[in-house]
Amino acid sequence: MAIKKEDVEHVAKLARIKISDEEKEKFTEDLGKILNYVEELNAAPTEGVIPVAQISNLENIARDDTITESLPNEKVLENAPEKDGKFIKVKKVFE
């Protein structure tokens, strides 16, 4: 297999997703199959090819650093799972 159960555990940790033992088995199998499939890319003739991250031919799109109107606080806070006045409430950051 292209990927081991320990790799899946590590990746889930990096991605901040808690996974069950059952999911570990399933994802090890699924990701293994997909990674085996994409192995075919090794045969692609990419010597000297410059990698592309996007294909729009645009580069370095910048805007002036000016202050513009942003969304109103109250409106944005309406979607907060927990809040306290003007603040979003979260668990303690420092113990």
Partner: protein, 469 residues
């Protein structure tokens, strides 16, 4: 009813927008329990928009050809004050605080927005089965999938639960459901339609486009939603070129007719291409040698972008938050409970393929192959004007048939994915049926040939059941 038909009825006074909108809301109430095309129906908002449209018409202030016409929107586009779920539990109760540019443009054109359509979770799927809100059914056969991820929009158009709809396409998500439901689905050139307010899946591939009952309607909607937008840094300030459509040369890639293509689908596609020959086109076999790597390239690049884009869903500022003892477990639990299986699979795959030690082997390699795939198209378009082939290797499959094996599901997009990797415009138009199941013809053009593709597609409007009312 098509946009053209509805707009003529509104113009002649045969019907007003309130009546038309009521008619569609009734239709949704009747059919949605069976088809599940809509996640949210915006009854009150739609009626308000319809009333405002009728008032404008009375005052001689009609805004556009779609003023007063009921349209559906895929539920991954933000609409101020309404729910936008992206088909996910993690956004089940999320209310958008602003309008996506596409929504602003539709509102400015006077459209009536009926509701938000069902989709695979965060647009990740080819069948609408990964939606937290249950699968959408194909109106042609409710035991089958409508395709995905814009399956709700496709089914809503096919079942006439809206006049037209908007979808989004990252690897085929407009064209494949259009093909499977027998409607027209157009994916514009990357950058032609602003992505501002579209919930990002894979930013370098995502593009918004129309899903309609014929190609004429696709052109009307495309012309309204396209255009440069400074809020999207990948938006291009360029108009689609209109070129002379005489003596066109159509390339048929031999790779699109190789193993894996259903023989009956193949027959219909060959007949459809042949019909263009009768219209005077020159048909030529071509080769896209790196097409065979498209699926693998996509299943590296897309998940890497997904892993990055979906990192924002952490239960802090908005969306679902799971109970936890401490901050780090808030993240772990929220994402475990909030995301479905396919979303998790792609986040983990993307995290792996871009992690230290593997980034060269996977991500950087795939970026190089992407360049090769684009080059294949660039070379091909020196010899020919358009490419034609199938959209999907098969007709609509049964619900549940491919959910156990992700790779089998991924193969549904084998012909559509390379178009996104190269940023090209492409359309799916109805080409025929096998029993009662629709088959779509794929027309691909060079960058910025958007209006030309639609013009070419329009030659099929009204032929081979290519038009539904």
């Amino acid at each position: 009813m098509t946009i053209k038909e509805a707009s003529e009825k509104l113009k002649s006074g045969e019907i007003n927008s309130v009546e038309l909108t009521e008619q569609y809301l009734d239709k949704i109430r009747e059919l949605n329990p069976k088809i599940n095309a809509y996640i949210t129906v915006l009854d009150d908002i739609a009626m308000k928009m319809a009333k405002a449209s009728d008032k404008r018409r009375k005052n001689g202030e009609v805004l556009s050809e779609i003023d007063g016409i009921p349209i559906a929107i895929k539920d991954n586009m933000a609409m101020d004050g309404t729910k936008t779920t992206a088909g996910s539990k993690i956004l089940e109760n999320f209310i958008s605080p602003y309008d996506a540019t596409v929504i602003s443009k539709l509102k400015n054109a006077g459209a009536v927005i009926l509701g938000k359509t069902n989709m695979d979770e965060f647009a990740m799927g080819s069948s609408t089965e990964t939606s937290y809100f249950g699968p959408t059914k194909n109106p042609a056969d409710i035991e089958r999938v409508p395709g995905g991820s814009s399956g709700g929009s496709a089914a809503a158009v096919a079942a006439d639960m809206c006049v037209a709809a908007i979808g989004s396409d990252t690897g085929g998500s407009i064209r494949q459901p259009a093909s499977l439901c027998g409607v027209v689905g157009f994916k514009p050139t990357y950058g032609m339609v602003s992505r501002y307010g579209l919930f990002a899946m894979a930013s370098s591939l995502d593009q918004i486009g129309p899903m309609t009952k014929n190609s004429e309607d696709a052109e009307i909607l495309f012309n309204i939603i396209a255009g440069y937008d400074e809020k999207d840094s990948t938006s291009v300030n360029q108009k689609s070129e209109i070129r002379n459509q005489k003596n066109i040369r159509i390339g048929v890639p031999k790779e699109y007719f190789a193993e894996g293509l259903d023989p009956e689908v193949k027959k219909i596609i060959e007949q459809a291409i042949e019909s263009y020959k009768k219209l005077g086109a020159e048909i030529k076999e071509i080769s896209l040698p790196n097409q065979k790597y498209a699926l693998s390239t996509y299943y590296i690049l897309m998940p890497v972008e997904v892993a990055s884009n979906l990192a924002r869903f952490d239960g802090i500022k908005y969306g679902y938050r799971a109970g936890a003892e401490n901050l780090i477990d808030t993240y772990f639990n929220t994402r475990a409970e909030g995301f479905g299986e396919e979303a998790k699979r792609r986040i983990m795959l993307g995290t792996y393929a871009s992690s230290a030690g593997y980034v060269d082997q996977y991500y950087n390699k795939a970026q190089k192959v992407r360049a090769l795939i684009k080059k294949d198209f660039d070379e091909a378009f020196k010899e020919i004007d358009f490419i034609m082939g199938p959209v999907s290797p098969t007709t609509a499959f049964k619900i549940g048939e491919k959910t156990d094996d992700p790779l089998t599901m991924y193969l549904s997009d084998i012909y559509t994915i390379s178009v996104n990797l190269a940023g090209l415009p492409a359309i799916s138009i109805p080409a025929g049926k096998i029993d009662k199941l629709p088959v779509g013809l794929h027309i691909i053009g060079p960058q910025f040939s958007d209006n030309n593709i639609i013009e070419l597609a329009r030659q099929q409007d009204g032929i081979q059941g290519a038009s539904i009312s």
